[in-house]
Each structure stands twice: as structure tokens, then as C-alpha cells.
């Protein structure tokens, strides 16, 4: 019974925790600008993240080590600094975007400017990351994030997509001069979904919850069912953008704009559901990002770490957490629109993706860590494909951002 409860909770957590400011921004804008023509990118990203999450959970459950610890142990300290540096740069932009997303969600509920609400939003993230036990951090925003499933209700309430719109699934309408924007959104979609912070967080979470080889079923079900359900929210946002915003010539360039599609479907209650979904997903993601980076640094440097430990027992881990939050707050206080920050963060993540993922290919084939649970041929081919995609995306992401003017 307890096992099935854990599995259900795992699925719920993955479903609610899938979306963040980056995926909301890219999905909404994709739908508004290119109809359903970017759903293929979302599907590829979902398959990739399912495979990576399953492998990451398996790795930590069997080896009893986190990803960061294993990178340092296997590749040495100098090599470890490479993915660490890329993580810190990309995730500080993304954390600012997530906090901004929380502030905008509160702003849509209250009417107060998001710039005023940014510091309280940052404090909320700090308070939860500082004091809340791991279970709360993992489950509370994710349960609230299930509101994202209301996006599917929105599509049904609008009567579903037209045949003409459905044809953009396999025949995207890319107008003259918009090819760079289209390709940029492909890169941002992949970068927003295949987020290394999620992998570091998942790997550390498996250790926080003391996973063993008995947890492999829970891990597999969480990865496959949870992530698939989670990506439904992202795909639903593309549909909503395509059905409501595109015919009105809107581009989905601000978060409030994206909620108008839910307002059209379900009235003020729909707009409120969008704001709650935005709040929950951004809060969950902000906690995962800030903890993911703090875990990474503490584990790599061999410091005490753990969300369930008192701050004094893991002082340096908690100090990193505070410093990282302050850096994100400083970026956020520059006044840059969180949605633009989220898109930029996703592009930077895409740029560094090969650095973060390459060690994975080696570690997943090491029997010293995984005994008889090393990757099979299919899993290795899958990682190589993901790495190839990551290389292509990394190569084109910055030129495309410049050409497209950042989406």
C-alpha cells in the first residue's frame, strides 16, 4: 500500500512540477506565433527528459551517489568545475525568471506591479528553501501545480482545435523572415524542458528519500507517467495560444497575455486558474533551481548537505543557497521582463547542455556505480541522440537568439 502511495505521489509530483516559467513562456509563444507547428519539439524534449530522469533516478538509487558527486569522483575536480560553472550562469538567470514568474502571478491576482512584488516573492522562495522539509518542497507546489491540467479543460471549453489548425501539426506555417524565430523557439523549447537543474535536483532527491534498488519501479513510473502527464500542460498551452492568441495577432510576449486564452475559455475563473498555475509552477521550479545548484556545489566540494538537516548542520550548503538567491534577486531587480529572462535562460541552458550531459553517458555505463543496472544498447543510443541534439542546439542557440531578437 505504502509503495503505491509513493508511486501515486511521484506521478503527481512529476506532473505538477514539469512546467516552469521557461516552458510556459516558450509554449505560449510557440502556439501564438506558429500554431501547433512546434509540438514536435515539445514531444522530442519530453521523450529526452523521461529517459534522462529515469537514468538519473536509477543511477542514484543503485550507486547511492548523486550526479555531482559522481562527476567529481570520476572525472576529477577540474572537470567538475566545467558543468558547475555552466550551471551557475544558466540557472541564476533562470532563478530570476522563476521568481519574476511568481511575482507576475501574484500581480495578476492583486493588480499590484510585479516589480513591487519581486522582493516578497524572493523572500517566499528563501523561507521555503531555508526551513521547509524536503517533502513539502517536493510535494506542495507540485500538488498545486496540478491546476495546469485545467488548461486541457480550457481547450475542451473552446470547442477544440479546428481542422485548419490541426494541419499546422505536420505543416508549420513559417512566414517569410520568421525562420530564425521558429528555429530559436525550437532551441528554447528543448532548453526549457531538458533542464540540467531538474536532473541535479532529482538525483539529490533520490538520496534525500533514501532510494534503493527497491525504488526502481517508483523511479520508472514517476519518469514515464509523471513527465508525460506534465508535458500535457505544456502542449495544452501551445493549443490555447494557437486557438485564441494567434487569430487575434497576439504573440504571447507577456505572461498575462497567455492567461487571456484561459479567460476566453472559462471567464475570470479561467484567468485565476492560469495565475495560480503560474504561481505554483514558478514556485516549484524556483525551489528546484536554488536547491539544485546548492546541492551541486555542496556535493562537488564534499560539504555537508541536506534539506532535512538544520541550517547549522549544513552551514555552507545553506550559505550557497542564500548567495545564489541574492545573485538572482540582483538580476531580477534590473527590471528585465521575467518572460524574456526565462527565454534567455532557456537559450543559455541549451548552450551548455552538452557539458552537463556528456558525463552522464560515461557514468551510466560504469558497473562500479551501477553493477548490473548499467545502460543497455537502446539507452546508450538514446543518450547519444540526446547529446547530438544538445550539440546542434548549443551551436545554433546564441546566433538564433541574436537573429530573432530574443524571440
Amino acid at each position: 500500500m505504502k509503495k503505491w502511495l509513493s508511486i501515486t505521489l511521484g506521478i503527481v509530483t512529476a506532473t505538477g512540477g514539469f512546467l516552469d516559467a521557461g516552458t510556459i513562456a516558450t509554449s505560449g509563444e510557440s502556439g501564438a506565433r506558429f500554431g501547433l507547428g512546434l509540438i514536435w519539439a515539445c514531444l522530442i524534449a519530453t521523450v529526452a527528459i523521461i529517459l534522462l530522469v529515469e537514468m538519473m533516478g536509477r543511477f542514484s538509487a543503485i550507486s547511492k551517489k548523486t550526479y555531482a558527486e559522481a562527476i567529481r569522483e570520476n572525472f576529477g575536480f577540474k572537470f567538475y568545475l566545467l558543468p558547475l560553472l555552466s550551471e551557475v550562469i544558466a540557472e541564476s538567470i533562470l532563478l530570476a525568471a522563476e521568481i519574476g514568474g511568481i511575482a507576475i502571478a501574484l500581480s495578476l491576482m492583486t493588480g499590484i506591479s510585479w516589480r513591487i512584488l519581486f522582493p516578497p516573492a524572493a523572500f517566499l522562495v528563501f523561507a521555503m528553501a531555508w526551513r521547509a522539509p524536503f517533502d513539502w518542497i517536493e510535494n506542495a507546489p507540485a500538488l498545486l501545480g496540478l491546476v495546469t491540467l485545467s488548461f486541457i479543460v480550457g481547450i475542451i471549453a473552446l470547442g477544440g482545435p479546428s481542422h485548419q489548425l490541426l494541419s499546422t501539426l505536420w505543416k508549420p506555417e513559417v512566414k517569410q523572415g520568421e525562420l530564425a524565430d521558429y528555429l530559436y523557439l525550437v532551441a528554447a523549447t528543448l532548453g526549457a524542458t531538458i533542464s540540467p537543474y531538474l536532473l541535479y535536483f532529482y538525483s539529490s532527491g533520490a538520496r534525500e528519500e533514501h532510494w534503493t534498488s527497491n525504488s526502481l519501479l517508483l523511479n520508472r513510473v514517476t519518469a514515464i507517467v509523471g513527465m508525460s502527464f506534465g508535458s500535457l500542460g505544456s502542449i495544452a498551452l501551445i493549443f490555447l495560444g494557437a486557438m485564441v492568441l494567434q487569430p487575434l495577432n497576439m504573440q504571447g510576449s507577456s505572461l498575462g497575455e497567455l492567461g487571456l486564452s484561459m479567460a476566453k475559455a472559462l471567464g475570470p475563473f479561467g484567468a485565476l486558474l492560469f495565475a495560480v498555475a503560474l504561481f505554483a509552477t514558478c514556485l516549484g521550479a524556483a525551489l528546484e533551481v536554488v536547491l539544485g545548484v546548492s546541492y551541486n556545489i555542496a556535493q562537488g566540494f564534499g560539504w555537508e548537505w541536506g534539506e532535512d538537516k538544520k541550517p547549522v548542520e549544513a552551514a555552507r550548503f545553506n550559505l550557497v543557497l542564500i548567495i545564489f538567491l541574492l545573485v538572482a534577486v540582483a538580476i531580477g531587480l534590473m527590471g528585465i521582463d521575467p518572460l524574456q529572462l526565462a527565454l534567455a535562460g532557456s537559450t543559455v541552458i541549451a548552450l551548455f547542455l552538452p557539458i552537463s550531459l556528456f558525463p552522464f553517458l560515461v557514468l551510466m555505463n560504469d558497473p562500479q556505480y551501477l553493477r548490473d543496472k548499467t545502460n543497455g544498447r537502446f539507452s546508450n543510443i538514446a543518450i547519444i541522440c540526446i547529446l547530438l541534439i544538445a550539440f546542434v542546439v548549443a551551436f545554433v542557440s546564441i546566433p538564433l537568439e541574436i537573429l530573432s531578437g530574443g524571440g
Binding site: I104, S107, L108, Q176, N249, S253, S254, L260
Partner: protein, 132 residues
């Protein structure tokens, strides 16, 4: 196999031969984006008065629209790919009443919100057309 190897260079050749542009001029991009924001502002204002969103939601959205459109009148004339002065002036004439509506949206029943929606729609259509 041969088809796969040739896919990349073929795409480049196709782009060159067909003259398919990878990106728009700075002017087209800016006016196109502005047209989309004016359209969003018009929809937001209409939804607020139709009861589809709360005035708090509308107010928060307008703050973002304003920051997206800030300084557009200064940027437009000097942007790469800008058309003749008359066209730019026409856009600026439509920009002024529209940006006023974005800065001070009429969210009460007592004021003339339909006029603001009309100004936003006019600006949106003209900017989108200028953006191609």
C-alpha cells in the same frame, strides 16, 4: 544515405535560391511586435469590460504592455529598414493615442473605453501591416 548527407547543404541552397529570408529587418520586427502588443492591450481592455478578467488582472497586464512599448516613438525613425518618413509619421500618429490607452487604460464603466479599444485596434492593424 546520400539523401541524408545532402540534406544540410540542400537546405542552404534552397534558402538561397528561393530567397527565403531567415529573419526580418529591425524595423519590421519592431513594428510587428508593437502591433501584437497593441492587439493584446485591446483584447485585455475588452475582456475586462466583458467580465472575462478582473480589473486587477487587466491592470497587471497593462504594466507589462507599457514596458514593452516604452520609447517606441524614439526608436522607430532610426531603425534599420525603416520606410519613408510619411509612413513612419503615420504610424507615430496612431501610436500616440494608443500608448495613452496603454498608460491610462479605462477600466471603469464611467469612461469611454470603446474609444480606447478603437484606437488600439487602429494602431494594431497599421503596425502589423507595416511589419509585413
Amino acid at each position: 544515405m546520400l539523401r541524408k548527407r545532402c540534406a544540410g547543404p540542400l537546405l542552404l541552397v534552397l534558402l538561397t535560391v528561393t530567397g527565403c529570408q531567415l529573419t526580418q529587418s529591425a524595423f519590421s520586427r519592431t513594428v510587428g511586435n508593437a502591433g501584437a502588443v497593441f492587439s493584446a492591450a485591446s483584447t485585455t481592455l475588452s475582456y475586462a469590460h466583458e467580465g472575462k478578467i478582473t480589473s486587477a488582472y487587466a491592470q497587471a497586464s497593462f504594466v507589462n504592455y507599457q514596458s514593452e512599448l516604452d520609447g517606441l516613438d524614439q526608436q522607430l525613425p532610426s531603425q534599420q529598414g525603416a520606410p519613408d518618413k510619411r509612413t513612419v509619421q503615420h504610424l507615430l500618429d496612431l501610436y500616440r493615442p494608443a500608448i495613452q490607452a496603454v498608460i491610462q487604460p479605462c477600466l471603469e464603466e464611467s469612461c469611454h473605453w470603446q474609444a480606447q479599444v478603437a484606437a488600439l485596434n487602429r494602431a494594431s492593424q497599421a503596425f502589423l501591416m507595416a511589419g509585413g
